[in-house]
Symmetry: C2
Subunit: 173 residues, 2 copies
């Protein structure tokens, strides 16, 4: 998917509507993927984002150690892969290989981008003070790549279990 | 709008998809409203939610003092009122009166519910340690009232400025 560099101070526009994201990370040369529904923009410039990552996950341990991750934003065509990525652990499964997702090298972090997602945000962890109490990593987006689209992307928004809401039309207030 | 008590351990389902919410609060007997786009569920049971509230706002000062708020979830029919509530300050304007919104008494907090919203979550602030650095209030939902609907509610999801994405169809992975 052809992507362009995206202005960092506008990154909040990609996450503010609450899409499910895929967190990619790297540990001992092995890449991993985990879907999460709980993220929050926390500042515009530099763009800060809070990511709530379950503390039993392999991704939690990896990000705590590597202090970096990529936030990849999928669209509705990937829903089955997104769900499948959440039903197994990177401790046992190579999710890129198992679910036919493609790694691309990032520009500023070692964790890979997921090619099939319409947006990739390279992030460095800047604050781990809230991971013990809330599983909340606070990251700074240091590079952003977004596929230009005419229509709003059909993002996924998690309700519960297998249920997702799909992003709808855009309106002006 | 007729509402029922909603199970607290399922409150994450209402906020996880990333809707814009209206924060209602009370100061010196005067109720106020502020729309915010940046919230994050942080736990299921008891339900904890992070709310990023701009520190120059009247709501920030009010919530810091009163340590309670109500998270009200509007649907698309309220988009003009939601936007208008964000363009002025409770320091100058009685927003309930100016925008034709209706107060209802809450059951466990003093801040009022907004009748026109399909869901009302009564909250108490449980952690203010992150308000200085990130404007992030961490609240516990202590009572929840939700209008039963057959179809998924057409929630608003903020992009930027006057631009909102409307919640679309529901799918199963």
């Amino acid at each position: 998917m052809k992507k362009r560099a995206f202005p960092l101070e506008k990154v909040y526009r990609l996450l503010g509507s609450g899409p499910v994201v895929l967190i990619s990370s790297l540990r001992d040369q092995a890449p991993n993927i985990m879907p999460i529904a709980w993220t929050i923009p926390l500042d515009f410039d530099p763009p800060l984002v809070g990511c709530c990552i379950g503390d039993h996950s392999y991704t939690f341990a990896t990000v705590k150690k590597s202090r970096e991750l990529v936030i990849n934003i999928p669209t509705v065509d990937l829903v089955k892969k997104v769900y499948a990525c959440g039903k197994c652990s990177g401790r046992q499964v190579d999710k890129f290989r198992s679910f036919g997702l493609t790694q691309r090298p990032a520009s500023k972090v070692k964790a890979p981008l997921i090619e099939e997602c319409y947006a990739n945000l390279e992030c460095r962890v800047v604050d781990m003070s809230q991971i013990k109490k809330y599983n909340l990593f606070i990251v700074e987006v240091v590079a952003a790549h977004v596929a230009p689209t005419k229509k709003p992307p059909k993002t996924l928004h998690h309700i519960t279990g297998k249920r997702f809401m799909v992003g709808g039309r855009e309106i002006n207030a």
